[in-house]
Symmetry: C2
Subunit: 393 residues, 2 copies
């Protein structure tokens, strides 16, 4: 049977479903100015069946190349991203019942550049280069910029990273070390987004802002594919994920839907998706609790949290995120910065993992949902530790 390296077929507007071709560089949909989603020829892949050699492929996210957008193997720009460990961590349950909870941690901090952002940038940079990009730019709260800078360096392409000027120094330095041009702007990531868009226009560079191009979400999708493979093609009861721009959740939900359609899962049941945001910046949680389909922007002046990855006042993927949570029967909640700091310490001392504040927020959310009895101790729960806290902020 004929097999293809990638089964990418076309792009689709996430709002109205209008179809776009996938063989040129595109940002949001021209029709609705909303995220474009990648559609694969899943029917053909389903006919071909799960690749017989899958289990023996290299331990990176590219093992799922059929479900990734890069057409040619030689276009892949890789630093070894993906296939991060999934660790049983019952000891991270709350004192008293620690050791008795069914808890797993996916340690995304072991990706190149220290966070899950590597997955998205590996996919997006590879595909952008395959489609002819000459330079790359993105606004970022920190981690994504470091990832962009690293993959651009690996590929030999110029890159520009636009950050809020109060971003912790370690992130700024990290991007600079990879040789990227760094622009610091007053305000939040939304303000950085304006500057990045301008750089893209002026220089003819490709703008890789979250969900403003279709491929970062595809890279992040591999978190869901990997989770399924690591659990022998079953999925957990609950997934808790820290949502800033929310591409991780969108990507993962897309992964599960694709696996369902392919018939690769052992069970029909999908996990409940839980997102956690910071008390000081929670537009998606507010919208979820108010039963809304879209999220109003959090007032910029009031967006306050030390977890830079969660300081995102508005997410262009709001509809997709809210839809995924609701379809899954999940929920959304906030935690305070103090709880994040406390849980980061808890994870280090009991689990041996230095987690970022964003990652620690998932542990705080888990404890909270156990206390509210919205999750049972026996419910198999996976926390996504999205980034390493190693830089000691």
């Amino acid at each position: 049977m004929e097999t293809r390296f990638s089964y990418i077929d076309h792009l689709e507007c996430s709002r109205c479903g209008k179809r776009y071709e996938a063989e040129s560089l595109q940002n949001t949909s021209l029709c609705c100015e909303r995220p474009l989603l990648v559609k694969y020829d899943l029917a053909a892949l389903a006919r071909a069946g799960m690749p017989a050699d899958l289990a023996g492929r290299e331990a990176t996210m590219w093992r799922y190349h059929e479900l990734l957008p890069v057409r040619s193997k030689t276009a892949i720009v890789s630093l070894g991203e993906g296939m991060t460990p999934l660790l049983a961590m019952p000891q991270l349950g709350p004192t008293g019942i620690a050791g008795q909870v069914n808890l797993l941690v996916k340690d995304e901090g072991l990706n190149p550049t220290g966070s899950f952002k590597a997955r998205g940038m590996a996919a997006a940079v590879s595909r952008a280069i395959e489609l002819g990009a000459k330079g790359l730019v993105a606004p970022t709260a920190g981690n994504a910029g470091a990832a962009l800078a690293a993959y651009a360096a690996r590929a030999g392409l110029p890159a520009c990273v636009v950050l809020p000027q109060d971003t912790p120094r370690t992130y700024i330095e990290q991007s600079r070390k990879y040789g990227a041009e760094v622009k610091l702007v007053p305000g939040l990531i939304s303000d950085a987004g304006q500057v990045a868009a301008q750089v893209a226009r002026e220089r003819g560079w490709f703008n890789l802002a979250t969900l403003k191009e279709p491929y970062r979400a595809e890279g992040k999708k591999t978190m869901g594919l990997e989770l399924a493979e690591q659990m022998s093609w079953r999925l957990p009861d609950v997934i808790i994920y820290p949502a800033g721009g929310g591409t991780g959740i969108v990507g993962m939900w897309k992964a599960f839907r694709e696996l369902q359609e392919l018939g690769w899962l052992q069970e029909k049941r999908l996990p409940r998706l839980v997102i956690v945001q910071a008390e000081g910046c929670a537009p998606l949680v507010r919208a979820f609790l108010a039963g809304k389909e879209e999220a109003e922007a959090w007032p910029s002046g009031q967006a306050r949290t030390q977890a830079m990855g969660l300081r995102v006042p508005s997410a262009i993927g709001d509809r997709l995120i809210l839809q995924a949570i609701r379809e899954s029967g999940g929920t959304a909640l906030t935690v305070g910065d103090a709880a994040m700091v406390q849980m980061a310490e808890y994870a280090a001392r009991r689990g041996g993992i230095l987690a970022s504040l964003e990652a620690a927020a998932t542990l705080a959310a888990y404890h909270e949902l156990l206390a509210r009895q919205e999750i049972g101790a026996r419910s198999q729960t996976v926390l996504f530790f999205t980034g390493s806290g190693w830089e000691g902020r």
Copy 2:
């Protein structure tokens, strides 16, 4: 056919070959006070053949459990160490011929805690606990202490890390965050070694100093096993490795010998092993160049380098290291701190990897050996980037 989880058989004095049993906690050999090496029942494993499911096993170093010392799967203390990426990096060749060299980098910075030390500690902590250790202590220049602290935290065992007082703050903080007791002592790692030995005696804790117990080298051995598997059971022409205590080189050479004996390699030829040390502290290079079998200690007051992992004035495994280099037809050289700093920058800007100074030393050595024509541009060369430089020192 009967198969065993581990084929560990006994221990052997690396100096005189005296046999010791492997089922109790032991440090150096009682006969010669030299490193004990682990011996496996390779004949039995060879008869069983390469495990049919090996390629599909989890992407950690524990995929090689037959060749690791832990008898029971449940005793494994893991944070997902091993199966780090092997990346083709021709662009890190010297300007002029960059892109035309046959160069690969094994990025050990993607291990838990940020360095290859995780492998050794995962093996040693797991085995120490299996054999009944109640507390763990080790002297360290930084990375090994962080690894010990993390694995002890994961296992719920108390740990004490002894560091030179001028160790960079990030390392000290890293060990503390995992909840380990940190002792700072004047002088070098050799001085820290005295204090660690004392702590072990007074408290009845197990001392995990490099090559003063048999199992850290076994964990590091997996670098060699992985390299072979990632290269389809062939090995490269040359391996360049930064040597402080030298356990990495000892472990890797042991891996290659075991694979030879098992008949798992496609070719008989083994790689040339090259070690690199710092100009300001190079006891092994001096001994190698002088044709000696043992290395005299570098005068403590003169041991100067910013690469803390290379500031090791004397290595208890000196004979084993020198023997491995000579048997392999390899060599030893020094590079200066300035070259390390420069090469760390080169690797970041051209390769997208933030390498530690120790790691960058291998790139400096590679450029030097190309210039000396001791390595050809076409010789397939693997650099071990032993640790991440992310902490921004």
